[in-house]
């Protein structure tokens, strides 16, 4: 599941990840993201931090709090900014990790999936 309010990025990311063998769903806001997680039960959520309604940290917190049937999705935060711009907030979040947007690739996401069974 790709959560990002930026259409252009979603389109390219989808293209790239589908080419890398993923099945991709999209959401543009935090609210859509929580609904989509319940609907499509993704294995991984690529979650942009800057969203129009509530930020990625809040979405990650909500996803972690949702009582899950089956395995919970691996949440990977992403941003055009770098990790150090968020100080300790990334480490404090229940998300599995952070991936700068410009380093996005199927291989990078698979590493997260491999690390987090």
């Amino acid at each position: 599941l790709i959560v990002d309010d930026h259409d252009g990025f979603r389109r390219f990311a989808r293209g790239m990840l589908e080419a890398a063998g993923f099945t991709v769903a999209e959401a543009a806001t935090g609210a859509e993201a929580t609904e989509a997680v319940l609907a499509v039960r993704p294995g991984l959520v690529l979650l942009d931090i800057a969203l129009p309604d509530f930020d990625g940290f809040e979405v990650a917190r909500r996803l972690a709090a949702v009582p899950a049937e089956g395995p919970a999705p691996v949440v990977v935060l992403t941003s055009t900014r770098e990790a150090r711009d968020y100080g300790g907030r990334i480490a404090a979040s229940p998300a599995a990790g952070f991936l700068p947007k410009d380093q996005l690739s199927g291989a990078a996401l698979r590493r997260f999936l491999a690390r987090d069974p």
Binding site: F12, A19, G87, G88, R89
Partner: protein, 573 residues
């Protein structure tokens, strides 16, 4: 007081004392001490007369002092002349100064008696004094004092009789005691009803009253004192009154100077209450009121909030307007009407002080406005930078990221078919990523996103991680603060750490941010070369301005060779 009057008074005093000395010459060892004390006491009253005339030209007090002085001395001169007419006038007049003294006391300080009753008391005192002394003279044979043929004749002598003379004297002593009692009682009543300046002005009089009372009781009842004590030392007690009056006059002459001092000592921005206190002290009038006109014709209120009728003051009070003060007035003890110059000076001093306070308040208000607008300008600048950073992030950065992803995908697709094209796309992708990195640095310089995102804790952590000098964080308070405070604290740490890296040649640095009641204290110290100065266009100067823009203070402690300690004290609600 005219020059002529002063010359006449001084000349008269010298002449009177000269006459007295001449009339009692050659000095007789038995009487010399008594006569010297007479001369001194008389002279003291004459000097006090000159002082009173000078100080209160509108009062008759100077005249009364002078009269007492002459009445004290002249009868003795007449008696000493050994002439029958002079002796016959002088002998009954010897005690009349006592009535004049009572007159002086009741008329203090204006020189005018207050009521018909008091007028009557004084007339009665003069009459009984002259009557009894005349009556006793009728029975006194000058030969009683053992002077035989050298004695001047008593022209009033009716019958030479010691018992009759004694009897008249005893009755006179009793009546005199009663009169003194009445006069002293009236003076005490004056004292009790007097307030402020008038009460202070009565202090010398109380001395005179006490001295007269003591003398009357001692000479009347304790006649067994030795002659020297009774006749030479007791009169000297009288000196205290005129002496105190002269001293108080000299002090009053310095009151004008005291006003100046009072105004100068008044700290800037002192309240009207403080001004009133200073003026009251300088004027010597504890009842002084400083009253301001209330808006809308609601009358005047003094500094203690009491209503004051500036048009019709209470009895015993007088009013003077303070020039250029929009209707403010001083209400003072009426007795001060005797010193119009001092009142005028006080009003002028009050006028200056109020004007000063008004200007001060104006400057203060303008300064406050400038401060507020500076804070607003800095805040607006901060907000603008935050907006710019967000715009970069949402716009150009986002597009560059997408571009670099697209280039990555294009390269992957071209890789098999056209390796040359793939290499070209790859180098374009590198360019795009570098542009993104540069843009990130630029955005961070404009406004650190980490500060907006995480507040001081994360932002300072990020600064410390980037610092090339080993830096430890001792304390940073959790929680968020107003944006302007956070931004200022952040810039202090950022600029300080940049300086440490550039100039300090330090091995280690330390960042401490502590929350104190009402403020945030940011401290950055290092163990480097020191010698940093906030002047001379350095970055520190700009930082000090930045801290001042939110009402804070930047302190730099940087002894040569002793490291640098930067402390910003930032107000924080």
């Amino acid at each position: 007081m005219s020059r002529w009057l002063r010359a006449a008074l001084i000349g008269g005093a010298i002449a009177a004392v000269g006459c007295f000395v001449w009339s009692s010459w050659p000095p007789n060892s038995q009487y010399a001490p008594i006569e010297t004390s007479f001369a001194i006491v008389a002279l003291s009253f004459m000097v006090a007369g000159i002082a009173a005339w000078q100080r209160w030209p509108a009062s008759r007090l100077g005249l009364l002092f002078t009269i007492v002085g002459y009445l004290y001395l002249v009868p003795y001169i007449l008696v000493n002349l050994a002439n029958p007419v002079a002796w016959t006038i002088g002998n009954p007049a010897e005690g009349i100064y006592g009535a004049a003294l009572a007159h002086l006391g009741l008329a203090w300080p204006s020189g005018r008696l207050r009521s018909r009753f008091e007028c009557g008391v004084i007339v009665a005192d003069y009459v009984q004094n002259i009557a009894f002394n005349t009556a006793s003279t009728m029975f006194w044979n000058p030969a009683f004092s053992g002077c035989d043929a050298r004695c001047p004749a008593n022209l009033l002598l009716v019958r030479s009789s010691r018992p009759a003379w004694n009897a008249v004297n005893t009755v006179e002593g009793f009546v005199g005691l009663v009169m003194t009692g009445i006069v002293l009682t009236l003076i005490v009543r004056h004292w009790r009803s007097a307030r402020g300046w008038s009460r202070r002005a009565m202090i010398p009089l109380l001395w005179i009253g006490t001295a007269v009372g003591a003398e009357d009781i001692l000479t009347g009842s304790l006649f067994h004192f030795s002659g020297l004590v009774t006749y030479a030392l007791l009169p000297l007690v009288l000196l205290a009154g005129p002496a105190l009056f002269v001293i108080s006059t000299v002090r009053a002459r310095t009151a004008g100077g005291a006003l100046g001092t009072a105004i100068v000592d008044l700290e800037p921005g002192a309240s009207p209450g403080r001004l009133r206190d200073a003026l009251a002290r300088a004027l010597g009038d504890s009842t002084l009121q400083l009253a301001f006109r209330q808006p809308g014709g609601a009358g005047h209120l003094d500094t203690s909030g009491q209503a004051v009728d500036a048009d019709r003051p209470d009895s015993g009070r007088a009013v003077v307007a303070i020039a250029g003060s929009d209707g403010a007035v001083l209400v003072y003890d009426e007795g001060l009407e005797l010193e119009p110059q001092l009142v005028k000076l006080t009003a002028a001093a009050a006028s200056m002080a109020l004007e000063h306070a008004r200007l001060q308040a104006e400057v203060q208000a303008q300064l406050e406005q400038v401060r507020a607008s500076r804070a607003r300008i800095v805040e607006a600048g901060d907000a603008e930078r935050r907006r710019l950073e967000r715009d970069l992030h949402d716009g150009a950065q986002q597009r560059l990221v997408t571009l670099s992803l697209a280039l990555g995908m294009a390269r992957d697709r071209a890789a098999g078919a056209d390796p040359e094209l793939a290499a070209l796309i790859d180098s374009a992708g590198k360019e795009a990523r570098e542009a993104l990195t540069e843009l990130r640095e630029l955005a961070r310089g404009i406004h650190p996103a980490v500060l907006t995102e995480t507040g001081l804790t994360g932002a300072v952590q990020a600064l410390v991680e980037r610092s090339p000098v080993a830096t430890t964080i001792t304390a940073v308070p959790d929680g968020r603060f107003p944006a302007a405070v956070e931004a200022t604290a952040y810039f202090v740490v950022s600029e300080a750490l940049a300086n440490v890296a550039k100039h300090a040649m330090a091995d280690a640095a330390q960042v401490t941010i502590r929350r104190r009641p009402g403020r945030l204290v940011v401290e950055v110290s290092d163990d480097g070369a020191g010698g940093a100065r906030a002047e001379a266009g350095s970055g520190l100067r700009g930082l000090a301005d930045r801290v001042a823009s939110v009402g804070g203070v930047l302190r730099v402690d940087s002894p040569l060779g002793g490291g640098t300690r930067l402390e910003a004290d930032i107000p924080c609600p």
